[in-house]
Symmetry: C2
Subunit: 316 residues, 2 copies
């Protein structure tokens, strides 16, 4: 019997990604024996061409970004990644080289982050490429970091550098020079902070996907706290500094950083430093939570409040 | 702080659907304590407007179909549904009434099938509405029905009636009269056969989503067996019979039935009958598996082979 094109496409490109329980992607469902004595952590994200990535982005980077934005959500929980399911809707004229590149990108990051494909669905679409990925990780029961849990007095820390994602998008659109390509790389290929020990250290956390100020606002609302951060302490990459002061607000409010934003009690900041060195992930203290009402204050080093014209990114 | 529109939309329409572990959809990930001593069964399906449903289908029926096509995959495994994650990508001008209707449909079927929302993502899209759903169910370890497992001599059984889905789509496009609306209803709202006891009864199984002949072909390939079915034994609804003999082939090869197609050893057909009566789900024996090579033969009652012009549905 001749296999229909859909199934041979799956066999050629996606079957090599399949891991334990995936039944070689020859079935309609996957089987998963949950790791004994662990709590599962699950999250799903969608990515649409023209919204979350550029239609002409290299297919391997699209695959890696799809996996990495979900890995970033697991990282914010302090979870160990396990496996994922994925749906891929593509226009009928999508060339086979696109699928080959997309799968090659996933294979690279599967090896890097220790996850395997469990299942999914491929369909056609009359619109742009639309992707979704559901990832499964695990934690010791009761230890997942959540948005809820920060206390007044907790310090505010971030990993890595902030703002490269939004500047990379501006560079892609020709609105900003990016001579080294560093910013565009950061937009296209986030670095999920998987492996940073957070249990017993952070009181709350979130990954910065909608913009530092907006995501900090999520922590404020969840905990009924005010947050005060010092703009000059927000870590910027050399490339972001080179963009100059006109782009400073964009760095604070733009999306796509996929760094971690953490609430850490002062008594545990040393432990965070140790965990960060162990994981090889830079961390920077940028402010502190205070009693509510929920509000984000961004101050200059002088203490003067900075008025932001844009709070962050919403899809509607 | 004023919530961005995306988050208030989630709060109004999707938060009421959230179940245990969903953290009220206020977080980026969900927590799931797997049922003790059970194996998880996971599957994901995507649905795109204009491909899997009609753009002007009532929003509540779109939500219910999205959930039900995934429930159908769980039903084919003999799994108990537990919870689901969902991604929803909609054009920017999608009215709030659409979200309200979509969520109301999900609420109806959550109650009916005993599942709750665990998490997901909402985004905008410049294309048609694109949905994906990942569902999680569970079975006693080692008892999930798979495509693999059928033996020569096993009987071929189906639940319900076959072909209503494809005829309903033809009716929606004005190519077929549907005076009672029965066929269109069957296309829009599949009946996942959740609750039919299959463990210890079926040796293999699949749900009929791509068309009876094509899905039977999947079972043949998985097991290296030939399948022989008698066209006249394939159960048709009154409405499908009324469509006349010109539509008979469409019934055998069209998609969207979401009935179960099962391999059952003859010694267990009585047990299947008992399980079917208990669940209130009609089952019909339509043929038998033979030694390979993998092939689907459709015969008339006279024994003459029926030549089909179309094997089933592929998205590529």
């Amino acid at each position: 019997m001749v296999l229909p094109a859909e199934f041979s496409l799956i066999a050629r490109h996606f079957r090599p990604l399949a891991g334990p329980g995936a039944l070689d992607l020859r079935d309609d469902a996957a089987l998963l024996t949950p790791p004994a004595g662990r709590e599962l952590v699950l999250t799903a994200d969608a990515m649409v061409a023209g919204v979350h990535f550029l239609a002409d982005d290299p297919a391997d980077l699209i695959g890696r970004k799809l996996l990495r934005v979900n890995l970033s959500d697991l990282a914010a929980k302090g979870a160990v990644p396990l496996s994922y399911l994925m749906t891929v809707s593509t226009p009928k004229n999508t060339p086979e080289t696109w699928f080959a590149g997309f799968a090659a990108g996933l294979a690279t990051d599967q090896a890097r982050f220790g996850v395997t494909l469990l299942g999914g669905d491929t369909t056609s679409t009359p619109g742009p490429i639309s992707l979704s990925l559901t990832i499964i990780g695990h934690v010791a029961p009761g230890t997942a970091i959540q948005r809820l849990g920060a206390q007044a007095g907790d310090e505010i820390w971030v990993t890595g550098t902030i703002g490269d994602g939004v500047l990379g998008l501006a560079a892609a659109h020709g609105r900003l020079a990016d001579p080294t390509g560093y910013l565009l790389d950061r937009y296209r290929l986030p670095q999920p902070r998987v492996g940073l020990q957070l249990a017993g250290i952070a009181s709350a956390g979130i990954d910065v996907s909608d913009g530092l100020v907006q995501d900090l606002g999520h922590l404020c609302r969840a905990n009924g706290l005010a947050a005060e951060i010092i703009a000059d302490r927000v870590p910027l990459s050399d490339a972001a500094r080179a963009a100059g002061p006109d782009w400073r607000e964009a760095c604070l409010t733009g999306g796509d950083d996929y760094e971690l934003l953490l609430a850490v009690p002062p008594a545990r900041s040393d432990a965070l430093g140790t965990a960060a060195r162990y994981a090889g992930i830079p961390v920077t203290r940028i402010g502190r939570f205070h009693s509510g009402p929920a509000k984000v204050m961004v101050r200059q080093a002088s203490g003067e409040a900075l008025a932001l014209t844009k709070g962050g990114w919403s899809h509607f």
